[in-house]
């Protein structure tokens, strides 16, 4: 009794192989991340200094720092957030808390999914047509940020809606049964418990926005500018476009420079992601269901 049969042995062999195969796949997934980071740090670290972050490019962008591009990326991301967060969060609240499930909401959901699937270069062309030309914003931070904002809207909507739906339905029922309106329920109970998820989504959106190149290159980002933007109607440099330019368009750039720029860009994005993780853990520790 209880001794192993040939079938058991075979099952065990298959089980082991599957585990090893899947484990390998997981390692394969992590490997490129480590390689990219390693390469960037190895090649880019030598050029990183406070001076690199705080001065402008010089000598036809073959030397000097990246301050205008860094600043420009911060401009673009902030204005894009101002556009997409209020619209996206409000839309998500409506869809999750107010809208009934009927064909209208289904069409809206379909639209959101499709918006998420539109390639970024198409967003760029839309941005040129709509914001640069039609609304006459010109190539400017405003036009570029609006384009970025529209591009990331589905991310905000979907992540916010998921955060809202993660709040148990029983809380809403309890509120309604006590005579609270939908808005009181949302404001006092649903939002405070969904805020960590919403913030996470927003920060992930920031990191994606910071890295985009295509949507901004026709709408507001410049190759090189001798001055810094002072309003949303100015053009600006941006890290992602700067990286593209000095790696492919400018002759005689020392090899370490693009790696340095890439390192700054990825550090920016990773810091954002880390912040979102910290936010999430801190806010999640407070709740107990």
């Amino acid at each position: 009794m209880f001794s192993s049969t040939p079938l058991d042995a075979r099952n065990k062999r298959i089980q082991n192989r599957v585990r090893i195969l899947f484990g390998l796949m997981t390692v394969l997934l992590v490997l490129p991340v480590l390689l990219i980071l390693g390469l960037l740090v190895y090649k880019g670290a030598p050029v990183i200094s406070l001076e690199f972050l705080l001065t402008s490019p010089t000598e036809g962008m073959t030397a000097g720092g990246i301050m205008p591009a860094l600043l420009g990326t911060i401009w673009l991301v902030s204005v894009a957030l101002l556009v997409s967060v209020p619209v996206g969060v409000a839309a998500a609240i409506f869809l999750s808390e107010y809208a009934r499930d009927n064909w209208v909401t289904r069409v809206i959901n379909l639209a959101i999914i499709n918006l998420a699937g539109v390639p970024s270069i198409v967003h760029a062309l839309f941005g040129v047509g709509a914001f640069v030309l039609f609304f006459r914003f010109g190539t400017s931070i405003l036009a570029a940020s609006l384009t970025l904002g529209i591009m990331t809207l589905p991310v905000v909507i979907v992540s916010t809606r998921e955060a809202l739906q993660a709040v148990p339905h029983a809380f809403r029922e309890a509120c309604w049964a006590m005579g609270a309106t939908r808005w009181q329920t949302i404001w006092r109970v649903v939002l405070p418990n969904a805020v960590s998820g919403i913030l996470t989504g927003i920060i992930l959106e920031v990191s994606r926005t910071a890295g985009e190149t295509a949507p901004i290159m026709f709408t507001g980002a410049a190759f090189f500018l001798p001055y810094l933007p002072v309003s949303v109607y100015d053009q600006t440099m941006a890290l992602s476009l700067h990286l593209f330019v000095i790696s492919t368009q400018v002759p005689g750039v020392p090899e370490a420079l693009p790696f340095g720029v890439a390192l700054v860009l990825i550090a920016l994005v990773l810091t954002m992601n880390a912040t979102s993780i910290v936010f999430r853990t801190v806010l999640r520790r407070r709740r107990k269901w």
């Binding site: 029983a170 809380f171 309890a174 049964a177 006590m178 005579g179 009181q184 418990n193 709740r287 107990k288």
Partner: protein
């Protein structure tokens, strides 16, 4: 009966789409008593309960005919403000569902809703919270941790809290939908004791699957079957000498 009944239904019928869940329910539920609703699963007792504060209407495919009055007022009249009705006719659910707030904020929730944007002075709020918690016999257990999350309480305490948070707005009726079925025997006993203590001050309607509970913890009992009221009499009479064979069969456990 000289007094206005706490709840009166008049030929109440309810359909979920094409399924008729309630047939011609005409009932008077007396003020200040505990009335239990018993019957097999699917007989309509929860539906009937949910009609009384109109929470059943949240489902878009519900159709209702007939009348429901609470303390002599038609609750389906067009001028009725649902939010007021729900505060007057409080509801306790099967699973304790305290909000993910502190114990204090849970108890103060309805009170704050009622006062709108007006700021409530701290002493007044403290008084309200203490009174409600004392009324449900929870004060001594939680008075030192009012700012802790309500979700850290035991299920029994949570359910008491769910009752406590209805009280600050002085409801006339408390509806309880199997309030003890998620609790262990000790918790059940404690909550039943509480319900028994609250009689007189509030009209309580309690849905239960537990015959012994109906017998122990109610004064009046309604037996329902397939969407109809079969028998509605004082609990001790109903259990000792049921007048209908269906009632007798059910309370003796021949089906259910």
């Amino acid at each position: 009966m000289a007094e206005t009944p706490a709840i009166r239904t008049d030929r109440l019928c309810l359909w979920y789409r094409t399924f008729q869940a309630l047939h011609d329910i005409s009932l008077d539920i007396e003020q200040g008593r505990i009335t239990s609703l018993i019957g097999p699963s699917g007989c309509g007792k929860s539906t009937l309960l949910r009609c009384m504060n109109r929470i059943v209407e949240r489902l878009p495919y519900v159709r209702i005919t007939g009348g429901i009055e609470v303390l002599g007022h038609d609750v389906r009249a067009p001028e009725v403000e649902l939010l007021q009705l729900r505060r007057q006719v409080g509801m306790v659910f099967q699973r304790p569902n305290p909000l993910p707030l502190s114990i204090r904020d849970n108890v103060a929730f309805t009170y704050r809703l009622q006062r709108g944007t007006q700021r409530i002075p701290r002493p007044e709020l403290d008084e309200v919270v203490e009174a409600a918690l004392r009324e449900v016999l929870l004060w001594d257990a939680v008075k030192d941790r009012l700012d802790d999350s309500a979700l850290g309480l035991s299920l029994e305490e949570q359910q008491k809290l769910c009752i406590a948070r209805l009280l600050p707005v002085k409801p006339a009726v408390l509806l309880m939908d199997e309030p003890c079925s998620a609790l262990d025997p000790a918790g059940t006993e404690a909550v039943e004791e509480l319900i028994w203590k609250l009689r007189g001050a509030y009209t309580i309607v309690i849905v239960t699957h537990n015959m012994a509970q109906a017998r122990r913890a109610s004064e009046s009992c309604i037996f329902m079957l397939m969407g109809r009221v079969v028998e509605h009499r004082p609990t001790d009479e109903l259990f000792v000498a049921p007048q209908h064979p269906e009632t007798a069969d059910y309370i003796e456990g021949r089906y259910g």
